[in-house]
Each structure stands twice: as structure tokens, then as C-alpha cells.
């Protein structure tokens, strides 16, 4: 029984870099494993819905080869490799169409939906540029509705900056639906589409908003700008659309300039393109831009609308399926140098619009010109109608409020007198 060895490696501490390398390798491997699993888990829900039939332009076959710097990992399967990251390499019209098709676009509120107070949220829309903010691989990119890049910047979003020690899988991405508010250089987040590679497309608005509230702040994205975080992000406050919620959204004081109110149906998933489950409504009190202006910023005397010309001469809205507004005769098409697919600008004449059950019975259209090239889409039915109503008989905030109070009375249980 020899005495046991007492030596302690104090002054001669072996740093064991080998053990450190081993540990770092294990750490790297387990991170990559969980990234790979994470990606696999998101494959079905996010990527497939990103390529859903509503965006036919997103056919992988027609896309350019991925740039070498895009597919860094190179270990994604065919299906998943057509993702946001690859789409980032799209240029010009493809990019515009692809990104435009990824945003959920509200319809304009032309009548008040039922169960407003029970099933809907209301929020005050910040004035500014609507954009998609994608953070991945150490960079954050914001793209406008037309697909053009607004900013390319480091942020505290997951994977949003090239910085060590940022949690979250390196290859995963996050996508936020935002409005960039120039005055305070802030991205106001109105919806969360993907978070750390976890897709929220198939989640209800109720869940997405909850997730947005709880997750965004954790990352430090709401902190003031710093070296690794160029712009501040901020969550737009949302309310249940009852009397007080509507009041808060409509009159409440907020750090940003308002541009109308947005209404989200709590049960709706994130639906790319136009949806009646998100609605926009405006009046003069909560928006500077109720009635559309022309290129010079002036309100034209007549309402202008943009429609798409089809093969058969029909001119239609951007809705899916499109709503036919009128028909142009072949000679006129030829004379004006129009071709199928053209976006055409019209003014509405004194004859006005008349519609029944979502179809135009009569529309007094006056041809102006081919629309400018920056536009990707025709106007939607609801937009045309909202603008028309705004000029003639607008839907007022009182109409909304009275709808809510009617609902409340219906919901109240009949009063019963208790007697012993």
C-alpha cells in the first residue's frame, strides 16, 4: 500500500489543447446534428409552403444555379435547397415576383367582418415600407414588397450577424414581416414567419403573435443599435378587437406615424398573397394616405386603378381567381400597343362602379396608359372598392364600433332573476 500520489498540477497546468480541440469538435458536431434535425423538421412545413402553387414562378428548374456563397452548407436536400437563402440570389423580376408572392397581403376592409371582437386582433399599422426581413448566415437582408433590397445589415436576430457565440444554428434562418419606419430608423415587426428555422406558416396568428412577443426580445433585437445591430426592431402593439382595443389602436399614442389599422383573424395561418383574413382600414384621422395619390403626390380628381390585361381582352384585378372588371376590344388593344399580361392604368369616370356579390355589374373606365414598370401587380378588388367608397361613402370608425357593441349585446346571456 504505497502512499497515494499527491501531486497537483498547479504551476505546471497542462492546458491540454488536444482535449480542447476534442471538446470543440464534439460541440461543433452536436450543433450541426441539431441543425440538420432542425432543418429536416422544417422541411415539410416551411419550404413546401414557400413554394406553394400560389407562387408558380418559384419553380426550381427556372432558377439560376445557386451562387457558391449561398449554399455554404451544401448539405441540404434538393427540396430544401430552394429556400429563402437561395432566393436571396435571385435578381431582377424573378426576385421581385418571388418575394412579392411571399408576403401576406391584407384585403381592404369594404365591409365589417362578423365576430370582430371575438376572432380578430387590431393594430395600428406604422407608416413606412413593408418588407420581408431575412436573417441567415450572419447577415440580415430586408427586401421590399417588390423584391428589391432595402438594407443589408448586421442584426441581433438569430444568425443575423457574423459574430461568435450567437446561439442558434448557423444555417437556420428567421423571417420577419416588417414595416421600416424612416423617421426613427426602426423596423416595426407586424408578423413572424420563420424563427430559428422553425416555420410559423402553419401556425395561427394567435400563436405567431405570442411567439413574436416572447422570442424577439430574447435576442436583443429590440435593443438600441450597436456595432453588430444596425437597426432597432420593435413589436407593434396588438389588441383584441373589442371596444377598448379598437380605441387604443385608433387613438393611442405610439412612437410611429400611423397608416391605418390592420385586422388579423386569430385563427388564420400565414397565407402568402391576398387574404380576406387580414384586413386594412383607414380614415383621415389615422392615416395621411387614405385616398391614393398620383406620381406627383396629388390626389387626382378621378380614382385611378391598375388592372391586368388577359389573353382574351378581359381586364382583371390581381385577385385569385381574378375579378373581371371589363373587356377591351381587340382593335383598341392593338392600337394602344398592349399585350397580354400588361398592367394598364384607368380612371373611373362619372358613371362610377356598381357591383353585386363581388362582381362588377358596371364600370365606367377611361384608359390612361400602361402602368409604370416598377409595379408587379394589378390592384385587388377590395382595394378598388375601398378607394371608391372612400371617395363616396366611406366605412367609418363608428361603423366598426357599433358592430362591436352589437356583438357584445348578442353575446350577453339573458338576465335571469334569482329568487329563493
Amino acid at each position: 500500500m504505497a502512499p497515494h500520489d499527491l501531486r497537483r498540477p498547479f504551476k505546471r497546468r497542462p492546458i491540454s489543447d488536444q482535449q480542447k480541440r476534442r471538446d470543440l469538435s464534439l460541440l461543433r458536431q452536436s450543433q450541426h446534428r441539431s441543425d440538420a434535425q432542425q432543418r429536416a423538421r422544417n422541411l415539410a412545413s416551411s419550404v413546401i409552403s414557400l413554394q406553394s402553387p400560389s407562387s408558380p414562378d418559384a419553380d426550381p428548374e427556372t432558377l439560376p444555379e445557386p451562387m457558391p456563397d449561398v449554399d455554404t452548407a451544401g448539405h441540404e436536400s434538393e427540396a430544401s435547397s430552394f429556400s429563402i437563402r437561395q432566393a436571396s440570389s435571385l435578381r431582377g423580376p424573378e426576385a421581385r415576383k418571388w418575394f412579392a408572392s411571399q408576403l401576406m397581403l391584407p384585403e381592404w376592409m369594404i365591409d365589417v367582418p362578423e365576430n370582430l371582437s371575438r376572432d380578430w386582433y387590431v393594430l395600428a399599422r406604422p407608416a413606412g415600407k413593408r418588407c420581408f426581413v431575412v436573417s441567415t448566415d450572419g447577415v440580415t437582408v430586408s427586401r421590399l414588397r417588390n423584391g428589391s433590397v432595402l438594407h443589408h445589415f448586421p442584426s441581433a436576430l438569430p444568425g443575423g450577424a457574423r459574430k461568435k457565440g450567437v446561439s442558434g444554428p448557423a444555417q437556420s434562418y428567421s423571417i420577419l414581416d416588417c414595416i421600416f419606419h424612416e423617421a426613427d430608423q426602426t423596423y416595426y415587426v407586424i408578423d413572424m414567419v420563420c424563427w430559428r428555422g422553425y416555420s410559423l406558416y402553419e401556425c395561427t396568428a394567435e400563436f405567431r403573435f405570442f411567439w413574436l412577443q416572447s422570442k424577439l426580445d430574447e435576442t436583443g433585437a429590440c435593443d438600441p443599435p450597436s456595432f453588430y445591430h444596425k437597426f432597432r426592431f420593435s413589436v407593434v402593439p396588438f389588441y383584441n378587437c373589442d371596444q377598448s382595443g379598437l380605441h387604443s389602436a385608433y387613438t393611442g399614442s405610439l412612437p410611429y406615424v400611423k397608416d391605418g389599422l390592420l385586422f388579423y383573424n386569430k385563427h388564420a395561418h400565414y397565407h402568402t398573397g391576398n387574404t380576406p383574413l387580414v384586413l386594412i382600414w383607414k380614415d383621415e384621422r389615422c392615416s395621411q394616405y387614405v385616398i391614393d395619390t398620383d406620381n406627383n403626390g396629388q390626389v387626382p380628381s378621378q380614382q385611378h386603378i391598375v388592372l391586368e390585361l388577359q389573353d382574351d381582352g378581359k381586364i382583371v384585378t390581381s385577385d385569385d381567381p381574378p375579378v373581371v372588371v371589363n373587356c377591351l376590344n381587340a382593335d383598341f388593344v392593338k392600337q394602344s400597343g398592349l399585350s397580354p399580361g400588361s398592367l394598364v392604368r384607368f380612371a373611373i369616370g362619372d358613371g362610377g362602379l356598381n357591383c353585386v356579390d363581388g362582381k362588377f355589374e358596371k364600370a365606367d373606365l377611361q384608359y390612361i396608359s400602361v402602368s409604370n414598370r416598377a409595379r408587379a401587380f394589378a390592384d385587388s378588388y377590395s382595394k378598388i372598392m375601398f378607394q371608391y367608397m372612400a371617395r363616396h361613402s366611406p366605412l367609418k370608425v363608428e361603423d366598426l364600433a357599433s358592430m362591436i357593441s352589437q356583438e357584445n349585446q348578442q353575446d350577453k346571456p339573458p338576465e335571469v332573476e334569482m329568487s329563493d
Binding site: H4, K11, I15, S25, A36, A44, D69, H75, F227, Y228
Partner: protein
């Protein structure tokens, strides 16, 4: 069978200096053993017990017998135990009797061998309740025994306690053993051999004394006898008694309050006056007390409640005014050239180590007790005083708050840089460079508010360190260490590192150090590459061009090691060590440059680098093999699908790695790298999967492979399945049953100790990662159906680990993820089953409300997947 005479001759021949004779005898012994095991063991025991036989043959007989009962390797040990248990009872009884008889032999060596063999037999038999009378027969009339038999009996009891676990010995027997041992230690025992054997036996038996330490009277008695034994005139007894105190300090910390004053006096006297062997144990007592208090304070963060398991008694803090001066005195007792001998350990080193632990246990309080000593001695003409002062300073840098130390350190920094360049003593410079390293390790970095290294002094610090790297190897090695921590402090500095202006110079100096002719002394070369690695790891984009320039340099060096002519085995060993260092360095560089924006340029070196790694495998050195393998894993990640072109050549080394049971680290690293390759190649790994899966399945069934490799093998199944998707089909019939039986084992293996619980959890994690990978791999495939039969078992596994309540957070996250994966892949086929499981309710809810965001996230995903599965 052989007659006794022949056995004797064989055993003697087996120790012959004539190689042929020896070899022949060894072969015959083996033959004998294989032909008639019982007869063989019996002959050995008989030989050992026979006082008429030569001592040498008896000792070897005992040794061979001992080796027939125990082995280092777990699987071999298991086989030997089974073999002994299956022997017939008559043989075993006879062997036992021979062994017990040997304890009364007049030959000390033979008695000692018998003691050890008896303990080995007891280790096998007592847990089976097969030799219940052993303790009784050892202890019967111990008082009447002649001294030499008593000594052998006590020694046997000591070994027995070392060999068997306390829970297989009844308390009644424990009491008897302790009584006999403590009586043997008592000053009344006249024979020093007996007293020494008893003291050493107590050291082994302390783990059995739980109940006795809870009894005030018995504890007082044991403590009194131990303390008295520390005053014995016999130095070996004093040393053994202090060893007991050291063990008591950690085993019965919470019982010591009553004895601390006495123990302090005893230890202080021993440190100041006794033999070094005793003084070292006395210092170790205080180091152990500090260890306990550091652990307790760490665990409770200084907050104690009535519920705390073990309260902190602050013994160190109370002893501080007397303890610190005692330790400071030891620092002046340095040995000449202690810094040149890697194995050196003396009272000064032990004292400094203990002082460092005291600083960690008491924090700020130590500073005023040490500062006067430092101030008085730091400029003295005698190098011993300057070194002791510096060592004291370096020792207390971990523990006290930065606030408390900052002013002192700032004032000392210039002094130390000066000493590094000017002090004539190698010892002082060695300790000064080490102290600088400690300053950078504990007081420099992003968490420290006021930086020690500023724009004003950075240049000077680096210049001095670089200059010191040209000093004697031991001093240069410490300078490399200091540079390591200096670089580490800038780990998360952001895009602009203060080291950038010096980067080129630092790299060149480190390479120059690695090339010094004396670089193999004092592990200087290793330290230089370690520092180089850390400098690269912590570098920023600003200097990536310079790191890139390093690639061909290191590759050339690696190339040179592969061109060596015939080398002596010593030279070869050094060569292999260097290959390991260079592969390690390349690995760090790959991780640094293998991603954007440097990846493209860097990858131009990939072919050549891969060629070098393959040649390193050819050298058959475990360390170099492991390092090259790790580097390849990093390279595969950087290369992505392009890595496929290396597979035809690389594959055989993968296979070789998976077959390396003996150097299991190599095997473990290889398993990890297969995961990297799966993620890099995806389905391009398919052609190699048959071979890999076959080998992995073999590894799992082997009882020779170290158990720590098994969990990562399961995870690797998941990696493969995820990579090749439904092609995993053909392995389902093999892998699923393996997973299933491992799952059953791990579900209820609730650990007897922390280590077992930890292993069980890592096993569970591996199994769960395999399931995750398989489910996700099969998702959206028509072959999903194949997995449905396994769903009930998997859900049951999840339920049972949830109910065991001993899973850690990693397992929790993986487990809830598997629930989601199962729902996601199998969908409505298992909707009903899922709803019946506990996991989908309580467990899911628990995870949903977890504070750990990764668990919560995995749970949200599972909830989402389950909702879809149920709603369809």
C-alpha cells in the same frame, strides 16, 4: 496433472534470465492452465502456502493466482469473475484454506501476496454471499496472534475494504473490522509493523465507517487514535496517519468542527518540523478542506438554508490568520532546479498550490494576509525570496474579485515585465512568466470591466513575452502559456483586435520557438503550438490573410515529418507527437478559414491537405491518428458534397478507426467524423453505408469497446438515416432491435451514483438522436409504414424516462423532439397512441413551461406536430 515439484520448477524457470527457458516455462504454465484450470489454481495456492518452497516461486505463484482473478479491462475482468464462480466448491474451499494459512508464514513478501489474493477472492465472493465466514475467521482471536500474523491479517482487512463495496459487508462485521483496526493503531500496540499495517488498513476502511462517524463516541475515539498516530516516533506511521486525516477531510468534512483546532496544531507542527513526506500530507489536509469548501460554495452560491446537504463551516476562513503564514513559509523551501524536472513535487510547490486553493475558498479575505509578504520579499537579493513572493502573488490571482486585485495587479505589471527581462534567476523568471499567464487567465477578457492590457502597455507586454520565448525552455514555455491566455482574453473582441498589429510577429515568434533545437524540453514545442492555435482561434477577419499564409507553412512541416528516414523508437515517438501537434494546428485553421469569406481560397489547399492526413494514418500512431481524424471532420464540413472525391481512399481509415477498440478515443473520434461526413455528403455517402453500418453494429455488440463510445454510435445511426433517408430501410431490422434493447436498459438504469446517471443520460440521448434521425429521414416516404410497428415501444420509452425523473436537460430536449418527429412522420397512424401516452400530456406540458428556451422550442414543435397528427 503436474506434480508439485514440476510447478515449482516451472515458476522458477518463468523468472529465468535465459529467454528461451523463460519462454518455454511461460508456455507450459499457459498450457497447464488451459488443460486443467482447477488443478492449476490449486497447485498455485499450494505452492504459495508451502513454507518449504523457495520464496521466488511462492511469490510468482501468488501473482499468477491474483492475475487469474482480476484484470484491468472490464470485459476480461468479467470473464475471470465468471470463471472463478463456476469452479467447483471443493477446489475453492481448498484454495481459500491455503490462502488463509499463508497469512502465518514467516516470509513477509509471501504473506503480503496472500493478503492481496484473499482480497481479490473476497471481491468476487462476498457480493455473492459465498464466503460469509471470511471476516469472522480473520478476526477470531486476533489478539492472541503473533505480531507478524496480526500484521498480515490487518493488511488483508485493508485490502479487503479496498476491494469490496461497503454495502456487501454487514454492519456487525464493519464494527468488528474497525475495532480491530483502530486497536491495532493504538499507541498501546507495541509492534510498529502492526501499528503501520493497522493505520494503512484504516485508510482503506474509512469508507465503511459512515455509521461509526455518526456516533459521537466512536468518532471521538477514531479521531483521537488517528491524531495520536500522527505523533508516532515512526515516520511511516505518521505519514499513514496523515493520509487518514486527508481522507477524513473529504469523506467526513461535516463532522470535523470539533477537532479542527487540534488538527491545525498537528498539521502546523508537521509542516514546520517533520519529514517532507509527512509535511506534504499535512499540507494536503488543508488542500482537501479547501476543495470541499470550494465545492460547497460553488454548489450553493453562498446561500445556505436548513435544507442544504452539507453546510459550509468556513474552516479555511477561520484558520486564515495562522494558515496563510504557515503556507508562506513553505514557499521559501524551494529545491534547486525544481522547474526543470517535470515530476518535481516538494513542500514549496504543495504550499503554493494550497495557497491557491485557500484563495479560491476565501476570496478577497486572503489579500491582506499575503500582500505584506510579497512587498517585503519581492526585491530581496536572495532569489528564493523573490521567487516565493512572486509565487505567492501568482497563487492568489484566482478567487479574490477583480476589484480587489486590479490596483495591485496594475502596479505589479511593470515590475513583472521588468523582472522577466532583467532578473538573473531562472526560477524567478519561470514563476514571473507563469504569474503573468495567471493574470491574463483570470483578470483579462471581455467580462473584466477595467482592462489590464491597454493601448499604452500592449506593445510592451507582447515585446517582453516574445523576447522571453527565447529564454531557457522552461521559462519560454511559461511565456507561451501567458500568450495563450492573452489571446484567449480577446476571444469575443469583435472585428478589431488589439493583437492585429502584432499578429505577424507573434505567429513568426511562435513558429521560431517550435523550431528551437531544445523545443522538446519542458514541453516547449507543445506549448508553442497550443499558443499558436489559440492565437488563430481568437483571430479576427482582419488577420485572416495571415492565417491563410500559415496553411502552406504548417503543411510543409507536416510533409517533412512524413519524409523521415529510419528513426529510433524514441525519435519516432517525438515525430508522432509532432505530427499530432501539426494536425491539431491544421484542424484549428480549417475551422477558422473553412467558412465564408475565406473558404474559397482556403479550399484550394484541401486536396494536398487530405493527402497529408492520409499519410499520417499510415504512421499508425494513436495520437496522430486521432488528430488527423478530427481535422478531417472539420474539413468535411467545410468541403460539403465535394468531400465525396476523398471517400474512396479515406474509407479504409474510417473502417480502421471503427475497429480500434483498444485506443477507444480513436474509435470515438471516428464515429463523430462519420456524422460530419453524413452531413457533408448526404445521400452520396450511401455506397459506404453497408460497411460503416456493419462495423458500427459490431462495435455495439462488442464488450471490449469502452462504453463511452456507444452513445455516439447510436447518434451516428441518426446521422446516417438523416443523410440517406428511406435508404436506411435495409438497416432497420438490425438497428431497431439494438436501439430497443439499449432503450430498455437505459430507461430504468437509474444510477447508483452520479457517474452512472450521467452515462445513462448520454446513452438515452444517443438512442433518442437515432430515433429522431430515422423518423426525419423517412419523412414523406412511402416506406414510413415500416416504422409504425416501433412506435408503441418508442412512446413507452419516452414515458418511462419521463417517469424516472432523472433525465438531464439535454435528454429532455431530445426526447420531446422525438415525440414531435414521431408525430410528424407517422402522422394520423399513431394519433391515438400518442394521445394515450403520458409524454404527450404531462411531459409535453412540463417542457412547454421550461425555462430553457431550446427545450421550450422543441416542445412547441412537438405540440405543433401532434396537433397536425391528431387533426388529420
Amino acid at each position: 496433472t503436474l506434480v508439485a515439484m514440476e510447478v515449482t520448477q516451472l515458476l522458477l524457470n518463468a523468472q529465468s534470465i535465459d529467454g528461451t527457458v523463460r519462454k518455454h516455462a511461460e508456455e507450459n504454465l499457459k498450457l497447464f492452465q488451459s488443460q486443467n484450470l482447477a488443478g492449476f489454481l490449486l497447485s498455485l495456492a499450494g505452492e504459495l502456502a508451502n513454507d518449504e518452497k523457495p520464496v521466488d516461486s511462492r511469490k510468482l505463484a501468488g501473482l499468477v493466482l491474483k492475475n487469474a482473478l482480476d484484470a484491468k479491462e472490464q470485459h476480461r475482468k468479467y470473464e475471470l469473475v465468471q470463471r472463478w464462480l463456476s469452479l467447483d466448491m471443493a477446489t475453492k474451499t481448498q484454495i481459500r484454506a491455503f490462502l488463509l494459512k499463508t497469512l502465518s508464514s514467516p516470509v513477509p513478501d509471501v504473506r503480503s501476496t496472500a493478503s492481496q489474493v484473499i482480497a481479490k477472492v473476497a471481491g468476487i465472493e462476498l457480493p455473492q454471499n459465498q464466503w460469509p465466514e471470511l471476516v469472522g475467521s480473520l478476526l477470531s482471536n486476533i489478539h492472541q496472534l503473533p505480531a507478524h500474523v496480526k500484521q498480515a491479517t490487518l493488511e488483508t482487512l485493508g485490502y479487503l475494504c479496498e476491494e469490496v463495496s461497503p454495502d456487501v459487508v454487514e454492519q456487525e462485521h464493519v464494527n468488528k473490522i474497525l475495532t480491530a483496526v483502530v486497536q491495532g493503531m493504538n499507541a498501546a500496540e507495541g509492534n510498529n509493523d502492526v501499528r503501520l499495517a493497522a493505520t494503512r488498513a484504516l485508510y482503506m476502511a474509512l469508507g465503511f465507517a459512515q455509521a461509526n462517524f455518526n456516533n459521537d463516541m466512536e468518532r471521538d475515539y477514531i479521531m483521537r487514535v488517528v491524531c495520536e498516530a500522527t505523533l508516532s516516533p515512526e515516520v511511516k506511521i505518521r505519514q499513514a496517519a496523515f493520509e487518514c486525516l486527508v481522507s477524513i477531510a473529504s469523506t467526513y468534512y461535516e463532522k470535523l468542527a470539533h477537532y479542527m483546532q487540534d488538527i491545525f496544531n498537528i498539521t502546523a507542527k508537521a509542516v514546520r518540523e517533520d519529514d517532507e513526506s509527512v509535511a506534504l500530507q499535512a499540507i494536503e489536509f488543508w488542500s482537501s478542506i479547501c476543495d470541499e469548501e470550494i465545492d460547497i460554495l460553488e454548489e450553493y452560491g453562498g446561500e445556505f438554508t436548513g435544507d442544504s446537504d452539507v453546510p459550509c463551516f468556513y474552516f479555511t476562513k477561520q484558520a486564515l490568520p495562522a494558515l496563510v503564514p504557515l503556507l508562506l513559509e513553505t514557499l521559501l523551501k524551494q529545491e534547486e532546479d525544481q522547474d526543470l524536472d517535470e515530476g518535481a513535487w516538494n513542500i514549496a510547490m504543495a504550499g503554493g498550490t494550497c495557497l491557491g486553493l485557500v484563495a479560491r475558498a476565501v476570496g478577497d479575505d486572503i489579500v491582506p494576509h499575503v500582500m505584506p509578504f510579497i512587498e517585503e520579499k519581492i526585491s530581496k537579493p536572495d532569489w528564493r525570496e523573490r521567487e516565493a513572493a512572486t509565487y505567492a502573488f501568482g497563487s492568489i490571482l484566482e478567487g479574490p474579485s477583480p476589484d480587489k486585485l486590479m490596483t495591485i495587479v496594475n502596479a505589479a505589471l511593470t515590475f513583472m515585465l521588468n523582472a522577466l527581462t532583467k532578473d538573473p534567476s531562472n526560477h524567478v523568471k519561470d514563476t514571473t512568466a507563469w504569474t503573468l499567464g495567471r493574470i491574463f487567465e483570470f483578470l483579462h477578457g471581455s467580462t473584466i470591466e477595467t482592462p489590464i492590457i491597454t493601448q499604452a502597455n500592449c506593445q510592451q507586454i507582447i515585446t517582453v513575452l516574445i523576447q522571453t520565448m527565447k529564454d531557457a525552455p522552461n521559462v519560454a514555455e511559461k511565456a507561451c502559456g501567458a500568450l495563450y491566455f492573452l489571446a484567449q482574453g480577446y476571444e469575443d473582441i469583435g472585428p478589431n483586435s488589439p493583437l492585429t498589429p502584432f499578429f505577424q510577429e507573434i505567429i513568426q515568434s511562435l513558429l521560431a520557438v517550435a523550431h528551437r533545437e531544445d523545443a522538446t524540453e519542458s514541453r516547449l514545442r507543445t506549448a508553442a503550438y497550443e499558443a499558436l492555435n489559440e492565437v488563430v482561434r481568437c483571430s479576427t477577419d482582419e488577420t485572416s490573410a495571415m492565417v491563410l499564409q500559415l496553411v502552406p507553412v504548417i503543411m510543409l512541416e507536416l510533409h517533412n515529418t512524413l519524409e523521415g528516414e529510419k528513426l529510433s523508437s524514441d525519435e519516432r515517438e517525438k515525430q508522432n507527437e509532432l505530427q499530432g501537434l501539426l494536425c491539431g494546428c491544421l484542424q484549428v485553421i480549417i475551422q477558422k478559414l473553412g467558412s465564408e469569406p475565406t473558404k474559397y481560397v482556403f479550399m484550394q489547399h484541401a486536396d494536398q491537405m487530405m493527402g497529408l492526413f492520409l499519410r499520417v494514418f499510415g504512421c499508425r500512431s494513436a495520437t496522430a491518428h486521432e488528430e488527423a481524424m478530427l481535422a478531417i471532420g472539420a474539413l468535411a464540413y467545410a468541403a460539403g458534397p465535394d468531400f465525396a472525391k476523398y471517400m474512396p481512399e479515406f474509407y479504409k481509415y474510417l473502417e480502421m478507426g471503427l475497429q480500434n477498440f483498444e485506443e477507444y478515443q480513436v474509435c470515438a473520434v471516428t464515429v463523430g467524423v462519420i456524422g460530419d461526413i453524413c452531413r457533408a455528403l448526404e445521400d452520396k455517402i450511401l455506397p459506404y453505408c453497408d460497411g460503416i453500418m456493419t462495423q458500427l453494429l459490431k462495435d455495439l455488440s462488442s464488450n471490449q469497446l469502452h462504453r463511452s463510445v456507444k452513445p455516439p454510435i447510436f447518434s451516428c445511426f441518426g446521422d446516417i438515416a438523416l443523410a440517406i433517408g428511406e435508404n436506411f430501410e435495409k438497416y432497420i431490422n438490425y438497428s431497431m432491435p439494438m436501439l430497443q434493447s439499449a432503450a430498455e436498459l437505459s430507461a430504468h438504469a437509474s444510477g447508483a451514483d452520479d457517474e452512472m446517471t450521467e452515462y445513462t443520460n448520454s446513452l438515452r440521448n444517443g438512442i433518442l438522436e437515432a430515433y429522431s434521425g430515422i423518423f426525419q429521414g423517412f419523412k414523406n416516404s412511402p416506406k414510413t409504414q415500416l416504422l409504425i410497428p416501433y412506435a408503441p415501444h418508442i412512446l413507452q420509452f419516452l414515458d418511462s424516462i419521463y417517469m424516472e425523473k432523472d433525465m438531464d436537460e439535454v435528454v429532455m430536449k431530445t426526447a420531446i423532439g422525438v415525440l414531435g418527429d414521431l408525430a410528424d412522420t407517422l402522422g394520423s397512424h399513431v394519433g391515438g397512441l400518442i394521445q394515450q401516452s403520458v409524454s404527450s400530456k404531462e411531459f409535453l406540458n412540463e417542457c412547454l413551461s421550461s425555462d430553457d428556451h431550446t427545450i421550450k422550442e422543441a416542445a412547441e414543435w412537438a405540440k405543433h406536430a401532434i396537433t397536425r397528427a391528431i387533426s388529420v
